[in-house]
Subunit: 163 residues, 2 copies
C-alpha cells in the first residue's frame, strides 16, 4: 500500500460528507495566491481560505516563470480575480543550492542538462521583490492594483510583508 | 480595505495559535501533489493533508509544463518525495476556451501575443493522460513507480482515477 492509497481513503471520507457541489467556477474572493509548494506552508489554514474562495498557484520557491504568468493571466482574464498574494517562506529549499550546481549534478547523472532555470535564490526578500516585479512588468496580466508579496515564517507561523 | 487585508487578518489569527514551528523541510508523506488552481479544489481537505505532509504544486489546469517538471525534479531530488498525485477536475475553466482564441483576444487588446501555450484542453480524461505521460517521459524526474492521475468531481466531491 502506497501513501497515495492512504490519501485516497481520506478522499473517500471527504466525498462522504461533501456539501459544496454548487459552488461557481470563479473564485468568490477574487484573489489568486501564488506560493511555494513547501509542505509546511498551508495557504488554506494560513489565510483562512475555504473551497470556492481563491485560485492557488504553487511551485518550487513560489517563483514567477512563464507558467505562473499564464496561470495569472487566465485567473484574471477568464475568471475575474483582481488581487494577487505572493508568498515565499523561511527555510526554503531554494536557498540550499545553486542553479548551476543542481543542473550539473543532474547532467552528470542523466547525461542531459535540464533546459529550465532551477530558480534557486540566495536572498529571500530580494526574491520576493524579483517575483513581484516579474508580475508587475508582465503585459498580459491586466489588474495590478493589489499585488503584494510576503514571507511566511515557518518557525512562527507569521506572515511578514516585503516592501 | 482589500480582500488581501481581510486574509492578512486571518493570517494573524493563524500565527496566534501556531504550534508547528519544528516541522522539517522534507515532506513527511514523501508525496508531491500536482493539481489545478481551481478555487473549489482544496487538496488539504480532499486528501486529508496537514502542514508538513506533502508538496503541493498548482497551476491553471493542473497541466505539466517545464515549470512543473522543474518543481517535481526539485521535490524528488532535493526533498525526497517518491509519489506523484495528479489532479484535474470537472467544470474546469481550461475546457471553456481554445489556446488560439485566448491568445488572439490578448493580442488584439495588448498588441503582443503571449509567448506561452495556454494549455486549454477539450477532453478531461485525455488531458490527465497527456499530463501523466509528460511526467513519465521526463528524464529529470527519477522516481516514477507511483505516478497516478485523477479527476476531482466538483459536483460530488469524489476523486476518480484515470487509467
Amino acid at each position: 500500500m502506497t501513501v497515495t492509497d492512504e490519501l485516497l481513503a481520506n478522499a473517500a471520507q471527504y466525498a462522504a460528507t461533501f456539501d459544496k457541489g454548487t459552488l461557481p467556477l470563479p473564485p468568490a474572493k477574487h484573489v489568486a495566491v501564488l506560493a511555494c509548494m513547501d509542505a509546511r506552508l498551508n495557504p488554506y489554514g494560513l489565510l483562512g481560505l475555504s473551497e470556492g474562495d481563491a485560485h492557488v498557484i504553487r511551485n518550487a520557491g513560489g517563483v514567477v516563470t512563464a507558467d505562473e504568468l499564464r496561470s495569472l493571466a487566465i485567473s484574471q482574464r477568464l475568471l475575474g480575480t483582481t488581487e494577487i498574494i505572493l508568498i515565499h517562506h523561511t527555510d526554503c529549499g531554494m536557498l540550499t543550492f545553486t542553479d548551476d550546481g543542481f543542473k550539473t549534478a543532474i547532467e552528470n547523472e542523466v547525461g542531459i542538462r535540464p533546459p529550465w532555470a532551477a530558480e534557486a535564490f540566495t536572498d529571500l526578500d530580494a526574491d520576493v521583490r524579483q517575483s513581484l516585479r516579474r508580475i508587475l512588468e508582465d503585459p498580459f496580466i491586466p489588474v495590478k492594483s493589489s499585488v503584494r508579496g510576503f514571507v511566511y515564517e515557518v518557525e512562527s507561523g507569521k506572515l511578514r510583508e516585503v516592501h
